[in-house]
Symmetry: C2
Subunit: 158 residues, 2 copies
DNA sequence: AAACATCCTAGAGTGCACTCTAGGTCAAGA
DNA sequence: TCTTGACCTAGAGTGCACTCTAGGATGTTT
């Protein structure tokens, strides 16, 4: 056994363990710290980083914020507020509410894109079925334009 | 008037006009072409690119694919199929269907993130109301961990 | 005592999707 | 004719978010 105790003094993790549990790479975690995204990281006698169970949850939260498009800069702002303590609770809440709005907007946009993709898939279905490119007059001008793009061959259109 | 005719021989656009109508930059359009994303672009006597109305729609479609995370590489594959003509209709449809699935997955993931963000906002609301950090035992372990991350001050936790 | 895993720092390198620059051509209006 | 603005190509630069390398320390195992 390479470790004294699988859970050394209960939930004191080193960077490799945190990496394994969070799904981030060791490099990424150190880089996150360098960007001011890792509050409360201690060191042991040998200078190694020591994490607690909380950091697993923290990285999970950061991960959710990241994968919904929050920039490292904004995550840093948020982390800084966390580090400042309980005085910043409302600011943290506002920051998350602002991000929440952006996430909602994005979901709407993606759903719009989904509609367009579905129209295009249907358009191809019709084309395959009919054997010739379907008319798009039944679509509003705006949409029809996006329906089939441009010259395939290099011929046609004077 | 710098232009012969606002719609020169009806819907023959030059790059500046296409840029204006598509919202992309002139640079981006040329770069898209260099990446093989612009089928059927002709040149006039002076060597300038000439676009048709279709290209506006094409860029709108590309835009939707891009903003839903399709890579330039995949958009190139799609464009190549378009250029190959009607034999590739089913392949184009399959490509879009594959992308469609990815978009759906993403929307699910974003909705999950939204839930977590909402829980966190609610957590702050409770904290602000109570005056002290709320317990998170009522949450499943997994979620509770993400609730409040780690040491604020630099003190606490032996 | 030697080997090995794991950690450390500083900084270079990567991949993506543009974005911009330099240096030049072309055609319409004054 | 000359100026002006929109266009051309080739290629360099940018910003983001990592990812990896080099060179070294620590500490546990055999």
């Amino acid at each position: 056994m390479r470790q004294h105790n699988a859970e050394r003094s209960r939930s004191r993790l080193r960077i490799g363990e945190l990496a394994a549990r969070s799904g981030k790479s060791v490099h990424a975690i150190r880089w996150y710290e360098s960007q001011g995204l890792m509050p409360g990281v201690r060191r042991d006698a040998g200078g190694r980083r020591v994490y607690s169970e909380h950091h697993v949850g923290w990285l999970e939260l950061l991960g959710r914020l990241r994968c919904t498009g929050m920039s490292i800069k904004d995550m840093h702002r948020y982390t800084a507020l966390v580090e400042e303590g309980a005085d910043t609770l409302d600011q943290r809440q506002q920051l998350l509410q602002a991000h929440r709005l952006q996430v909602e907007e994005h979901i709407v946009e993606w759903n719009r894109a989904l509609e367009m993709i579905d129209r295009k898939i249907g358009f191809y279905a019709d084309w395959i079925e009919c054997g010739s490119m379907p008319a798009t007059d039944w679509l509003p001008e705006e949409r029809a334009k996006a329906m089939e793009p441009c010259v395939q061959s290099g011929e046609s259109e004077t």
